[in-house]
Symmetry: C2
Subunit: 281 residues, 2 copies
Amino acid sequence: MTRSRAGPIGVFDSGVGGLTVLRALRGVIPAENLIYLGDTARLPYGTKSADTVVRYSLQCADALLQRGVRLLVVACNTASASALDPLRRHHPRLPVIGVIEPGAKAAVAASVSQHIAVIGTEGTIGGGAYQTAIHRLNPAAHVTSLACSLFVAMAEEGWTSGPIAESVARRYLEPIFTTADAPDTLVLGCTHFPLLAAAIRAALPPHVAIVDSAATTAAAVLEELGGAAGPHNGTAVDPDAAAISGTVKWLATDGAARFARVGSAFLGETLHAETVEIIDL
Amino acid sequence: MTRSRAGPIGVFDSGVGGLTVLRALRGVIPAENLIYLGDTARLPYGTKSADTVVRYSLQCADALLQRGVRLLVVACNTASASALDPLRRHHPRLPVIGVIEPGAKAAVAASVSQHIAVIGTEGTIGGGAYQTAIHRLNPAAHVTSLACSLFVAMAEEGWTSGPIAESVARRYLEPIFTTADAPDTLVLGCTHFPLLAAAIRAALPPHVAIVDSAATTAAAVLEELGGAAGPHNGTAVDPDAAAISGTVKWLATDGAARFARVGSAFLGETLHAETVEIIDL
């Protein structure tokens, strides 16, 4: 099977946050061609009803399927919580991978005490999807969850390290991690949060494991592709940019300039606005 | 004319930010009955097209007019920038007051050097409405504008004072106010920002004047009512809560619990979720 017949991997999110997932994917499947769609005209998904999020997600999937994707990554927590089942029902032969299940699985695997902390946006934490996913894997797990809204704004502003980022991380996390029965594992349950990983790390006791849902989602994609015909050999590779031979096609529904500007930080390399195609859904 | 025949004052915003305007209004017209509508189901307006913002604003106005308002305050920067003219065309006999024009006017009046700084959300600053309004009043004014996105998240999180708020304010503002030709006036061009006034003040040289667009909008409403028949006598009063005899009716389009919780900080008093009526627009 040639690479073009295999088809690219499609990734969508409401905005730029999913670029941390795309970045992790490029590390583990550097030879794959990828298509990223940011539904920037309709962000945020987190404040919308589940029905609306399902409708938008099906539209994103259609746009990517029209471009021949053979696997779909839902790199958005809100859509992963509401739309995975509808997407799988509509596209029974398309593998669909969300960001919540892989993070929950990695957290249950990493935690010795099974007291797991999850941080995310207000919508993700309020919706309880991580808590539900962890309890499905281990009904006895103790989950402490906290919305860390400022982390999103700080990631988008590019204030990801230094004293302000560390103070904010300490203010959110210290009350959770300084108790006698503190969690031993922290799930970064928002695609924006990997950008703040160093500041978050600095606010945690050293033994606490951090589960980055971008990295765990990329690992789940690699596993899914492992048995399938495709251009890669199914093994993890050095995430060195020099090894990346696959292309990325950029799609957004609004604001190419902002997508490129904010997205560059998420991607870890410069994204040019003129390479972002604006589409209608 | 009796109070009930005079009709209440209507105030709308996409969310809770406009509560700072409502709070300022209660200080200057404490005997008036007010109706506040937060279109929380469809926030934020800042990322939506001008056509959509106009449509939503007309719907908010209709809902308030059905409840008999005799004056409309557009307590939302995005709607003030896009929808004032359409609102006035649709309702030629309804006085409509936005938040941008009063702030621009107060800034031009306050500034000696006519170098004025404006801070707001990315949408407000990118849209240029304050800059345009200031230049309409003084074409020779020098306007420095800056989006301060974190201030919004900090206001909603309730992190409005203390070392983090002050560090964030310094990081945004010091580069503007430590130059040789620095502005002498700062417009808080977002309804969320008055909550951070103390932290912002601490980051500024003492001679810099702060123009709070919530306060200036309330003053514009008082001026508009000054010549009209109504329950007040048209003069400013002590903004002591004990003097407030008017009622407030709370309307939102989604999420009474969050509206009440976050809104309490904006309002400066406890708002109870059960007093918030959820309406469809």
